[in-house]
Symmetry: C2
Subunit: 357 residues, 2 copies
């Protein structure tokens, strides 16, 4: 931490962090505003929060917690391209993504809603295939799709089909899961390899001209979360690192907790195929979306139990401790590299992987 | 009912009604599939229900009723064009539409979610205006927007902004509201003039070259419903006649209740401006969308109390009894015309008013 160049970066980030929420400078919405990183946060903080803000929305977690903390509510639109990809499709992704956002507050999914915006001319056979895969995913997660809606827009006003799923869940534990529970010394665990979903989509688009077998990791995580919460009461916070990847999620947590998070690069599990594809694209796997992985921040004394519980579940077989929460520098994420160096890991800027979910 | 031409129509409709759910014949999705009428029902019944079907979804009401009937869940996408129109905009429409779907099962709105699909290049000032109007509508309806999501799609893959709102509500009464409660003799009440929203949108598009001041009727109806349910326990069923209008809603109810509904044309309240615009477009106001009106089916002995309760509320000042439930012909809606004739009012076919909500 003595390199003057690094200190300068730290100072600049610290200054930005202490600044009051800025005005949105952009005159027009860009793809970056949908990428889940810095621009998305600016849009949320400078535009949506002032207009819609209330104490339920303000925590900006994966799910809102309602009604004396007994209900969770979460929504996501899915605009992934292509609609069908190795390991899943938009329908399965929508169901699992919504189940996972509920799971991150430890909620048992009660019901989902599904709204479709279909482009005129879209093949009904493809719509049926998507509905079938949503049905299968919903049955697998043991949650009904209880209500729905279909709108159709003219050709050239959509892109096949967009799906918006919303989930309501029951919170049946008394844990206070969230960044405010995070303490220095806590361990950062990921439940498996990172970047599989994002790279599977990029490869499926065919732009990389890569012949690699890589499936999206889309999966419902509520069973894994239940196993984890059964093993220990000392889970502080759960997140699913989707858009913006692990780096963005950890930045959100570090800021919200006003703590530092240090990642050990050598401990981060990444498939060689993902590393290879990331190198070609010039993207760091830490920023690539996952759709079947979670990040758990757990108390140090609970980390072995937590890891064992994850390892005992098929969806957590590749779980690993990848980092630690520290006091300083507050609000920042640092990476200890394999070569013994240390660098700042900032939130995602721009949108290297548009429409990944 | 003795005209042989009419009898033929009745027989044909009856045959169709008794048929098992058909296979979806369309190879491609058309605008009609989003219009809320026949094609929408075919899509839901032949495609979505077989794949997603479960006992919560099957009633296909405005809201699903969950968790031992204590929670209501509803979702809608809004793709209205133009985004800003006399009397409201897409944001206010989305909030009110979702509040209203909850109100139709007598639920008090607990929280909403809002998901935005924004087209790259959309002015952030317009997005802010929409968020502000959602915030104002949510405060007016006393319901927080508790969670949200923003996705951005490339230019030419959207149309400014689409909004998907989902609502969760608490059911705090013991009434069994729904078509199964409908009985012959029940009165059909509408809470005010029909067709205002749909015609306001068509006029706002400028295609009609009409210089008419007509505002959308977008409004949150949960207060009106609370007043109605406080006045009488004998409300059988509530619906908001949005896409497809009163005609489509009554057809749904007649089929679900296996009863006839007879409308008295002279009693249906329609503004002269709406009648005029409908004549130019060759559209029957019975098929035009409303966004601040409800249809209540009430027991005959309760109809005067119900009407008085509606009249006492600002949003029900124009309420009127417009029809009656009969035994025969089951599953059908008939109109007694001003000229003493009688004709079948079928469900909406095609989509004369695309992207009305």
């Amino acid at each position: 931490m003595t390199d003057p160049r690094e200190q300068e970066v730290l100072d600049r980030i610290e200054q930005r962090r202490r600044r009051p929420p800025r005005k949105l400078l952009d005159q027009h919405v860009t793809l970056s505003h949908g990428a889940g990183g810095k621009s998305s946060h600016a849009l949320t903080e400078a535009l949506f929060l002032p207009e819609l803000g209330n104490e339920l929305l303000a925590p900006l977690g994966d799910s809102a917690v309602l009604g004396d903390r007994r209900l969770a509510l979460t929504t996501d639109s899915f605009v992934v391209r292509p609609l069908f990809f190795p390991g899943g499709d938009i329908g399965e992704l929508a169901v699992n993504g919504t189940v996972n956002d509920l799971a991150m507050v430890g909620a048992r999914p009660l019901a989902l809603s599904a709204a479709f915006i279909v482009e005129e001319g879209f093949p009904t056979a493809d719509l049926q295939r998507i509905a079938a895969s949503m049905g299968a995913a919903a049955r697998a997660a043991d949650v009904p799709v209880a209500t729905g809606d279909t709108k159709v827009v003219e050709r050239g006003k959509g892109d096949g089909v967009y799906v918006c799923t919303t989930g309501v869940g029951a919170i049946e534990h008394d844990l206070e899961l969230g960044p405010s529970a995070i303490r220095p010394g806590d361990q950062v665990i990921v439940s498996g390899t990172l970047g599989d979903h994002g790279m599977a989509i990029m490869i499926a688009r065919g732009n990389l001209e890569l012949e690699v077998d890589l499936d999206s990791d889309t999966a419902p995580l509520h069973g894994l979360v239940a196993a984890l919460l059964a093993a220990t009461d000392d889970v502080r916070c759960l997140r699913d690192p989707t858009r913006g990847g692990l780096a963005t999620v950890l930045n959100e947590l570090a800021r919200a907790a006003d703590a530092a998070i240090v990642i050990d690069e050598a401990a981060v599990p990444v498939r060689p195929e993902v590393t290879g594809a990331c190198e070609i694209l010039g993207i760091d796997p830490l920023y690539v979306a996952n759709e079947g992985k979670l990040v758990a921040i757990v108390a140090p004394e609970a980390s072995e139990d937590a890891l064992a519980a994850l390892h005992a579940h098929p969806l957590g077989a590749g779980a690993a401790i990848v980092g630690e929460v520290r006091d300083d520098p507050p609000g920042m994420v640092l990476l200890e590299t394999t070569f013994g160096g240390r660098r700042v890991v900032d939130m995602l800027a721009g949108d290297p992987l548009p429409r990944i979910c």
